[in-house]
Symmetry: C2
Subunit: 103 residues, 2 copies
DNA sequence: AAGAATGATATATTTTAACATATCAAAATA
DNA sequence: TATTTTGATATGTTAAAATATATCATTCTT
């Protein structure tokens, strides 16, 4: 029901969200049309490697092939590398030092 | 000069060699035509995910996307998981106990 | 040396990703 | 509330992957 792997699909969606990109912005940066990104993220397309790599690059992701037996170790690494809300989403700090100094 | 990543390309070629499959045998097992496998392995094709996954499955490989920053750690894992001639290539043992016992 | 197996290459056809573009309903923001 | 932004969806076109099939030179086998 989806040409692409769940791991890849989720990583794409999550990385875009993390970076705070809209599909249109990702489109502008990667060169892949927004309409196509939508199809890709919904898993309904058997996309080409070049498309996947183009998206991955803007999202600071890299594509791999690994022996099945090393998969658990790799997934564990990936989890620890991003799992603990690695920020991205440049947001205002929880508090800052300006505004009318009061309180 | 090659749509696909070097890491992927090498892994495909190396995994097939390790398993001792000819392109024709890999073709039979994966459903991907031999002529196409040849093109893929030479890097001259922007192949679709489904083709890559089909080949990977037969070769006991898995496709991934990982954050760029975790790439070095992952590559190190991959190296240690296969690097030290992981055999495959079921070959005759270096010596065996039969034949006319002499020498 | 003869025969089989291998990887590369070629041609013609079918299938489909990728594209440009536009629209839509829902969600976010003004 | 009015406006913008967002993701999903639709249509028609183009480019290219994928297929089936066959051939060829080279490398293993026998």
């Amino acid at each position: 029901m989806s040409y692409i792997t769940d791991q890849i699909l989720e990583s794409l969606r999550e990385a875009r969200a993390r970076k705070g990109f809209s599909q249109r912005e990702l489109s502008a940066r990667s060169g892949v049309p927004q309409s196509h990104i939508s199809k890709i993220e919904s898993g309904g397309v058997d996309l080409r490697i070049s498309s996947l790599i183009a998206l991955a690059r803007v999202l600071d992701l890299e594509l791999f092939v690994a022996p099945k037996k090393s998969v658990p170790a790799i997934k564990s690494i990936i989890r620890s590398a991003q799992g603990h809300d690695e920020d991205g989403e440049q947001s205002a700090p929880a508090y800052s030092l300006d505004g009318d100094a009061d309180e």
